[in-house]
Each structure stands twice: as structure tokens, then as C-alpha cells.
């Protein structure tokens, strides 16, 4: 009995890890990069106080944060074909995760932008730089540094959220595990196993976060 469980564990480990490396991680990485781009733009138009764009940004954040991620996945993958828009599972997942995460990260970055003292912008203007130049060279770098821990948090959350992509037929780690369970009838050990692999991924990211925080430094202030 024990032997069989150990055997299933060992045998399935590479089979679960592989889609983790080839699907879960790339899906997370690509989606997160898009999310950061969306978030930065969304935060900046609010920071710049551009009337109409700001309203669009608020509407976007309102809708995305107010609806479940799973519902968003279903709307895009199962719903849009009704109006003739067919998207493959993986691109659909990237699309939804980017847009979803973008809304949350936008709020993080907006808060960070607003936390930069007003005098930094005024000093930039007074040395002759334009608003945009000052944002790009002075405000945004400081804001992203402030936002870094929170953004890392979002990234870690996203790794786990990608398991929802199983619902739109993306064969990532979780779906692969479900298939092995269907074959072996060992849900306990297998679901613990996939959980462990997520834990390993997130542990690596946590380590990277603290390395990143040290590397970014605090403008000469010692961080311990």
C-alpha cells in the first residue's frame, strides 16, 4: 500500500512539474508583464488627471475588481464565441489574467505614485523638465520601488490563480493532476503533490522578492 502511493508520487512528479514549467510559469510571466504595462498606463492616466481617460480607467478597475476571475475566464472563452470571437485556450487565459491582474496592479501603482512627495514633481518642473519627463525619470522609478513588495505579492497570487485556467481547457499543472487522479484514484496524495509544487514555485518567488528588494536598495539607505 505505502509503496504504491510512493510510486505514484514519484512517477507523477515529473509529469506534473513539466506543465508547471512549460505552461504555468510562462502563462504567469507573460500575463504579469502585460498586466504591469496595463497597470502602469492605467495608473498614469489617473495620476495625470486626464478627464475622460481617468473615467475609463476607473470603469475598467470597477468592472474587473467587481467580478470573479472565473467568470471573466468563462465570458471570454465560452461566451465570446457566441458573437463570433474564438480564442484558443492559452491566449484566452493570457488575455484574462493580464486584464484582471492589470486592474489590481493599477491600484497598487497609483497609490505608489501618489505617495511620492509633491515636491519631487515641483523640483523636476523647476529644473526645466516637462511633466512627462519628471514622471518618467523621477516619480515613476520611486513609485515602482515603493510598489515592488505589493506587486511581488500580486505575482505570487497569480501563480496560484493560473490553476483556474484548467476550467477553460488549458492543460496546466492542475488539469494535468486531475487527469492523473482520474486514472489512479489517488486524489489525496496527488492534490497534495501539486500543492507542494505551487509552494516550491512561490518559495522561489519569495526569495527573488527579497533579493530584488535588496538590489533595488533604498537610495543609499541601508536595508537589513
Amino acid at each position: 500500500m505505502e509503496n504504491r502511493i510512493l510510486e505514484i508520487f514519484m512517477e507523477s512528479f515529473p509529469n506534473i512539474l513539466l506543465p508547471g514549467l512549460t505552461v504555468t510559469i510562462p502563462l504567469t510571466a507573460v500575463s504579469f508583464i502585460f498586466a504591469l504595462i496595463i497597470a502602469t498606463v492605467t495608473a498614469l492616466v489617473q495620476f495625470a488627471d486626464i478627464r475622460i481617460l481617468k473615467q475609463i480607467a476607473r470603469f475598467y478597475i470597477w468592472v474587473i475588481r467587481g467580478t470573479p476571475l472565473l467568470v471573466q475566464l468563462f465570458v471570454v472563452f465560452y461566451g465570446l464565441p457566441n458573437v463570433g470571437i474564438l480564442i484558443d485556450p492559452l491566449p484566452a487565459a493570457v488575455l484574462v489574467f493580464s486584464i484582471n491582474e492589470g486592474a489590481y496592479c493599477a491600484e497598487t501603482i497609483r497609490a505608489a505614485l501618489e505617495s511620492v512627495p509633491k515636491g519631487q514633481m515641483e523640483a523636476g518642473l523647476c529644473v526645466g523638465m516637462s511633466w512627462l519627463q519628471t514622471v518618467r525619470r523621477i516619480i515613476l522609478p520611486q513609485a515602482l520601488r515603493t510598489a515592488f513588495p505589493t506587486l511581488s505579492n500580486s505575482l505570487i497570487a497569480m501563480v496560484k490563480d493560473t490553476s483556474l485556467a484548467a476550467n477553460i481547457t488549458v492543460t496546466e499543472m492542475f488539469m494535468t493532476t486531475q487527469r492523473i487522479v482520474a486514472r489512479t484514484y489517488e486524489p489525496l496524495i496527488l492534490y497534495i503533490e501539486v500543492g507542494l509544487i505551487y509552494l516550491i514555485f512561490c518559495t522561489v518567488l519569495t526569495k527573488l522578492q527579497s533579493v530584488g528588494e535588496k538590489r533595488l536598495g533604498y537610495y543609499g539607505r541601508k536595508v537589513r
Binding site: 512627495p117 515636491g119 519631487q120 515641483e122 523640483a123 523636476g124 518642473l125 523647476c126 529644473v127 526645466g128 523638465m129 516637462s130 519627463q133 525619470r137 523621477i138 522609478p141 520611486q142 520601488r145 533604498y218 537610495y219 543609499g220 539607505r221
Partner: protein, 244 residues
């Protein structure tokens, strides 16, 4: 070189500046004195368009600008000809001392990096900060930060530098080093408008004094006249209060 006419500014219905007139000649060092809340900071901020004034106009280098409708481009042009030193320094926190000075040269004025750094090092040398080029603001004392801020303001060779209480955030020991830098700038002929509570500076370094109260210029004139024979009772009272 620079004159301001009829500058008015209100905040939410409260009139803070009630028609300010100022004349600045090249090489003037003008001390702006006045009790707290009289509108000194607001005046400087309006002159550099950090606050939007309601009415009035400004002539700079023979060109007239109306405060109420000045274009972004004109504001940009004017700011490139001026420097501003803040009470709380406002050094760029993510830039070293040298980068703080070179930023405006490279980004706003498109001066090549090597040249900008040469100018930057020279400016830092002038304010006695050449041994701290690679320090971040958080690694510098208040007096050192303010000296870097002065280097930043003067590096672009502006026609005028505005100072808003450059020493009031500093301990008395650090005040001296900043005032010394400002004095040497004045000696070199830099045109300066200095809002200050440093009476010694107003009396001995500046050549003109403007005394403000409640958003109006109560009295202005040469430093000697203001300190030795002030005409207005309010000026006399203010000077008496500050022991001068």
C-alpha cells in the same frame, strides 16, 4: 530684467496676494521679508508658475507674459531661465548628488552626459560638495542637501534664482554653510530673490528688501533704507520684533 505687475492670487476665495508689483534689475539680491502667512511663498511659486495666479503680468527679458493665460511652452521657456531652491530642498530621492544636478541639464536642455557631468561637478565644487557626488540625498545632512539643491539651481546658469526660506529647515550650525554659499553666489553677481527670516542676510548681503504683509508689499527699497530708516510703521514694528 524682470518685473511683476498687479499679481493677484486667491485660494478658495481668500485673497492671498493683492496686486503685487516687483522690479528686479540684473544682479539684484532681493530679500523678501514679512510675517508668516503674508504670501511670500505663494509669490515665489506664482512667479515660477507652480501656482496659477489669477491676474497680473510679468515681463522677463523684455517679453511680457500674462499670468492668467500663459502657455505651457512659455512656462517651460521661463523655467529654463530660472532656478528654484525650496525650503525642504526637494532633491530627487532616487538620484545621487551629481545626478540631481545633471538631470535638468541632460533631460531638459539636452546637454551631452559628459559635458553635463563636468558642469555638475563644478557646481558641486562651488558649494563645497565635490566629495559627495555619489551620495544619495538620504545620506546627506540637511545643510548638505540644501547646498546640492543650490548647485542644481545654479548649474544651468539661470538668469535668476528664487529661494524660499532656504535655511529655515536647518539647525543653526548648518544655516551658516548655506548662507555662505548664497553669499558667494551673490558676490558673483547672480540675480536672486530670497524669502528669508535671516535678518543678517537681508541687511548685509541683499541690496534690496521687500517687506510684505497680508498679500501686499508694504514697503520696498534698498536694504540700507529699509533697515536704517523704514518709512512704514508696520516695517518698523516688524524689524523691532526681530531685534533689528
Amino acid at each position: 530684467m524682470l518685473s511683476v505687475k498687479g499679481l493677484c492670487k486667491s485660494f478658495e476665495g481668500t485673497e492671498v496676494l493683492k496686486g503685487i508689483d516687483i522690479n528686479v534689475d540684473k544682479g539684484d539680491v532681493i530679500a523678501v521679508l514679512g510675517p508668516s502667512g503674508s504670501g511670500k511663498t505663494t509669490l515665489l511659486r506664482c512667479m515660477n508658475f507652480l501656482e496659477e495666479a489669477d491676474s497680473g503680468s510679468m515681463v522677463f527679458d523684455g517679453k511680457e507674459y500674462s499670468f492668467a493665460n500663459v502657455s505651457k511652452k512659455e512656462i517651460g521657456e521661463l523655467r529654463k531661465k530660472t532656478g528654484f531652491v525650496f525650503q525642504n530642498y526637494n532633491l530627487f530621492a532616487n538620484k545621487t548628488a551629481l545626478q540631481n544636478v545633471t538631470e535638468g541639464l541632460m533631460i531638459a536642455r539636452k546637454i551631452p552626459k559628459a559635458e553635463a557631468e563636468r558642469i555638475g561637478r563644478q557646481a558641486l565644487l562651488k558649494v563645497g560638495m565635490s566629495d559627495r557626488c555619489d551620495y544619495y540625498p538620504s545620506q546627506l545632512s540637511g545643510g548638505q542637501q540644501q547646498r546640492v539643491a543650490i548647485a542644481r539651481a545654479m548649474a544651468s546658469e539661470p538668469e535668476i534664482i528664487y529661494f524660499d526660506e532656504p535655511t529655515s529647515a536647518l539647525d543653526p550650525e548648518l544655516t551658516g554653510e548655506v548662507l555662505a554659499v548664497m553669499k558667494s553666489l551673490a558676490d558673483e553677481g547672480m540675480t536672486m530673490i530670497v524669502v528669508t527670516h535671516e535678518m543678517e542676510f537681508a541687511k548685509n548681503v541683499s541690496n534690496k528688501v521687500i517687506f510684505m504683509e497680508n498679500g501686499v508689499v508694504v514697503e520696498s527699497g534698498s536694504s540700507r533704507d529699509i533697515f536704517e530708516s523704514p518709512k512704514e510703521e508696520r516695517t518698523r514694528e516688524f524689524l523691532r520684533m526681530t531685534d533689528f
